[in-house]
């Protein structure tokens, strides 16, 4: 793969930053519904980046991936999640997350910075690749982990997991655009299966506990 046009590099950076900002917005989102919508938007940015990468790097098969991602991550997954939210009584989930929203964002900023330093120290330097994109994508993954850890309801945790996958998608666009599209598509297929299983277990949880909060999940210890 040849040198990357500078326009593409900055486009990739902008996309990665947008995804990271969406991730921060998810941390703060008071409503589960808006969190799912933010996820859909985030996925849309990833889809655009995928198509852009396909065009610039000359991997036309990435268009297939972009189309499938659009269908799955922007339409089907959010629709499934929103349907789940419509069907169950969301109840009192709007309490602030552990430690309050502000400190959550501080923690998220700290882990993002940590990610930048880790990548610098590993010496990921290549003229052909936008390494800034990689740092931002790593930050997306780390902040998504913060989301999963600090929000105490099954929907936020599931959305956190799905957005980790978005972060990894950006990483793969940034540094592994040549990864066979068969592999990428099977990753996507696995995501779909995971979404269905997450949904089933969330329903089972709601049926048993009568809530989407994970606070009732404290039987198994030690």
């Amino acid at each position: 793969m040849g040198p990357v046009p500078s326009g593409y590099a900055s486009g990739a950076d902008v996309a990665a930053l947008l995804v990271l900002l969406t991730e921060f917005a998810m941390l703060r989102a008071p409503q589960l519904r808006s969190q799912v919508r933010l996820y859909a938007f985030q996925s849309l940015v990833v889809v655009v980046l995928t198509a852009l990468t396909g065009a610039v790097r000359g991997h036309p098969d990435l268009y297939v991936l972009a189309a499938l991602s659009l269908l799955l991550k922007v339409v089907i997954v959010p629709a499934l999640m929103l349907r789940l939210l419509r069907e169950v009584d969301v109840g009192q989930l709007h309490r602030p997350p552990v430690g309050g929203g502000g400190s959550m964002v501080l923690v998220a900023i700290a882990v993002s910075v940590f990610g930048f330093f880790v990548l610098r120290s590993l010496g990921f330097r290549s003229k052909a690749l936008p390494t800034a994109t990689l740092s931002v994508a790593l930050a997306v993954v780390l902040v998504a982990f913060v989301l999963v850890v600090l929000r105490s309801d099954v929907v936020s945790q599931a959305v956190g997991f799905f957005s980790v996958e978005n972060g990894v998608s950006i990483v793969s666009m940034a540094i592994a655009a040549g990864l066979p599209v068969v592999a990428e598509v099977s990753f996507l297929f696995d995501l779909l299966v995971a979404v269905v299983v997450f949904g089933l277990i969330m329903r089972a949880h709601h049926a048993r506990a009568g809530t989407l909060s994970t606070e009732a999940l404290d039987r198994l210890r030690g």
Binding site: V168, L179, S186, H205
Partner: protein, 497 residues
Amino acid sequence: MHEVLIALFVVPLAAAVLSYIAPAKAAPPVSAVAGTASFGLCLALVPAASAGAQHALGAFLRLDALSEVFLLATTFLYATTAVFASGYLHISHLAAGRRYGQLFWGGFNLFCAAMVAAPLMNGLAALWVAVEVTTVVSALLVVIDGTDEATEASWKYVLIASLGLSLALFATVVVYYAGSSFFAGSYNLSYANLLSGAAHFSPGAVRLAFVLAVLGYGTKMGLFPVHTWLPDAHSEAPSPVSALLSGALLAISFYAILRYFQVTEKTVGPAFPRAVMAGFGVASLLLAALYLLSQRDMKRLFAYSSVEHMGIIAIGTSFGAPVAIFGALLHVLAHGAAKGTAFFGAGSVARKFGTKDMGVVRGGALLLPWSGTMLVAVVLALSAFPPFGIFRSEFLVVEGGLSSGRDALAAVLVVLVTVAFFGLSWFTTKTMLSAPAASGERAGADEVPAPGEVSIWIVVAMVAGLAALVLLGVHLPSDLTRLLRDAAGQILPGGAK
């Protein structure tokens, strides 16, 4: 040999479909036959695997000595667990109706199919897909009984394991990047590509990929500190699922780590991956040994014992001496047979007494003359008593540690294994070898059940497991010795081509 390889891939898949659509009564025998057939096919592949890498279906499937070791462990458990489950499910199965049986047996075979597929996949990307499939299918099997505890356990399991696997996906992408400048353009992550090119990969990227892979697949393998879902899922799942999760799935996750280990060793030398394995291994062993001292739930006890044994395997790999790696791979086989059998016994106790609380169950070996006695034997096997296979494998691991000058680590291993032995044997022998509680003596306990086995199939499965353990301990067949030696050779520097 290609036909055998393809058959091994297809048989469990076919069994999954068949057991879902077949009448309820046909599903258990179909699964048992499919499991036994898979094990037979796997045995037939042992000589070919020693001879070198075999490919089938264009290079989609691939078999070598290393993957064959893990296939042996998995298919053995597939066969014995199918037999065990036929006896175990008998009662609740009929009460819960046809739907339960369909879901259980369909899921059971699909879970096994994914676990058989993982070592057969040619490349790190396909391997990841197979492991992710094992996660989602087994999470559904954990929740199938629908109790509060099972729901909690399966949520923790699917969330934590999926997050772990997303790190493993990250690792896959980074490995691809590490090789992209060497291969100059698009390539696939097949083992042939990776092993031939690894020496020229970018070292920083490979280091990052290895750490991510150990964290990611280590989540599924139950390494500290990412083991937290394991005791919950393994204890709350139906016992046949617990046996597969502990005996086979942990090993498959270790297999994935070993594939990264091979690449990393070629790129940055053996010191770095060995240090990482040693760190995670000691931490896991320490945590498990301490937690084993305070468990009341029998299946939870065995779950922590799995964390302990994964720690031993990780440490064995980190020693780097051929004999230690041979021991670690033998440990994979022996632990699979032992842990499967232990969960069969725990399932038998749970069915008999209606609880797995070791503070309540008394007189297990008297009331369950066969499965209770064998449960005590397998606990001794798990504590590395001769003449069982784990004695031999742990002995080899320690020997390897001493011979490679890692005396301190070998000593720590021996001490912690001894602590684990106390925890494991104290509670189980108290439960199994005590006198039965007199009727009405204890509030909360049900009527003391009459002596007798729950099902003959449970006994059959346990006999098979113990027989395998004795075979591994007393006399390793020469084909198996050659296979393990070849597999260990692949993990040593300059081994795999």
